[in-house]
Each structure stands twice: as structure tokens, then as C-alpha cells.
């Protein structure tokens, strides 16, 4: 069964550094998402992306965050200047179509630790 692939599985970075989290969505999917989960809390929506542009974003997704689909397969989340509170698990997800009757498929996540 096709999977959403995320790399790296763990990333440790120093405060103020830029990080790029990478995702390869399922190949025929059209909608892409990033979510995050701070340790012990629920999973929160960050941003959705369709047709090479952001379709929706949350209040969390401020100017420090950006997303990009640089080629036909990768989908990236960049944090420009990391803060301690950015430490979390980041999940990428994709969906095949916009209609409601299609599930989101999640990757295994990247655990980001900011020191």
C-alpha cells in the first residue's frame, strides 16, 4: 500500500536555526497537509496546500513557517528561525481528492527538538 514518507525521523537543532522537514506524499494525491503535536497534546492543523498554493492555514502558521512543493514529489515545511516552543512532532499528510469522501493518509512524523 502506498505510504506518505517523512524525513528525517528525528531532528535536533539549535534555537534560531532554520530547519526543513521533508515529505513525499502518495504519488497520485492532490492535497497536502502539515500538522504538529506538542508532547502530550493533541494533533494541531498547520497548513493545507493544493495546486501549488496554500489553501488554508492556522494561527500557528505564522511568518516563520513556509511550505513548498519544489518538484513533483516532495512537499517541505521550513521553519526559518526555530524557537524552543517549536519542539514537537510534525506530521505530513496527503489526500487524493477534494471531495469529502476520501481519508487523509499520514506519515510517521518528524520529531523536532529545539535546544
Amino acid at each position: 500500500e502506498p505510504e506518505v514518507t517523512q524525513t528525517p525521523s528525528h531532528q535536533v537543532t539549535q534555537m534560531g536555526q532554520e530547519v526543513i522537514l521533508r515529505c513525499v506524499p502518495i504519488s497520485n494525491h492532490l492535497y497536502f497537509y502539515w500538522y504538529r503535536q506538542i508532547l502530550g497534546q493533541k494533533v494541531e492543523f498547520l497548513v493545507s496546500f493544493y495546486n501549488n498554493e496554500i489553501s488554508e492555514k492556522s494561527e500557528i502558521f505564522d511568518d516563520q513557517f513556509s511550505v513548498e512543493r519544489p518538484d513533483g514529489s516532495n512537499f517541505t515545511l521550513k521553519i526559518r528561525s526555530t524557537k524552543l516552543e517549536d519542539s514537537a512532532m510534525y506530521f505530513c499528510a496527503s489526500r487524493s481528492r477534494s471531495s469529502y469522501n476520501s481519508p487523509l493518509h499520514f506519515g510517521n512524523g518528524t520529531r523536532l527538538t529545539v535546544t
Binding site: Y33, Q37, E44, F45, E56, Y100, H105, N108, G109
Partner: protein, 109 residues
């Protein structure tokens, strides 16, 4: 936005016991998924169930969309069932999943 509440927040079971987890949502939904988050943090998709009933092995789920709730049944629980169970919904004209508060399940020998 839509509110998604899960109960109970915590649950401890003896191996072999059955349990029911509940998900209540505050508005009509077009999509509902149940996930199991394992101890390594991975989100495992259990069910895509905007309405009706589905079964997969020892797990089954029922969504009654008109009454705004969904139930996840775990039968003959095993220690590997431990983890956090999340329901997540898509409401209105949106396309993003909103996650619930989760149920932390621990299955003991």
C-alpha cells in the same frame, strides 16, 4: 470552529477486556477518521467512517452523524493496543481534519 471531545480521557484495562471509546462533535461532519498513536508516536489509521459501521478484526467503529458521535469498540484487548486513540473530523466546507482530545489507553497483563 468545530469542537471534538473524546471520552474517557484515560482508560486502564486488563488484557482480554472490552472497551468503548466515544467521540462527540459539535457540528455536522463530512469525514471522520479514527487513529491509534503508538508509543513511538506514529499515527496509525484505523477507520475512515463518516457514517455507518465498520469492523476490522478486534476493532469496530460506528458513526451516527445525525447525533454527532462516533464510537470505537475494542474487543479482547491486548497490550499492543496501548497508546492514544484520536478521532478526527472534517466539517462544513473545509478539507482539514480537526483532531479530538484523545483517549489514553493502557492495557495491562
Amino acid at each position: 470552529g468545530i469542537q471534538v471531545e473524546q471520552s474517557p480521557p484515560d482508560l486502564i484495562l486488563q488484557e482480554g477486556a472490552n472497551s468503548t471509546l466515544r467521540c462527540n462533535f459539535s457540528d455536522s461532519v463530512n469525514n471522520l477518521q479514527w487513529f491509534h498513536q503508538n508509543p513511538w508516536g506514529q499515527l496509525i489509521n484505523l477507520f475512515y467512517i463518516p457514517s455507518g459501521t465498520k469492523q476490522n478484526g478486534r476493532l469496530s467503529a460506528t458513526t451516527v452523524a445525525t447525533e454527532r458521535y462516533s464510537l470505537l469498540y475494542i474487543s479482547s484487548s491486548q497490550t499492543t493496543d496501548s497508546g492514544v486513540y484520536f478521532c478526527a473530523v472534517v466539517s462544513g466546507g473545509g478539507n482539514k481534519l480537526t483532531f479530538g482530545t484523545g483517549t489514553q489507553l493502557k492495557v495491562e497483563l
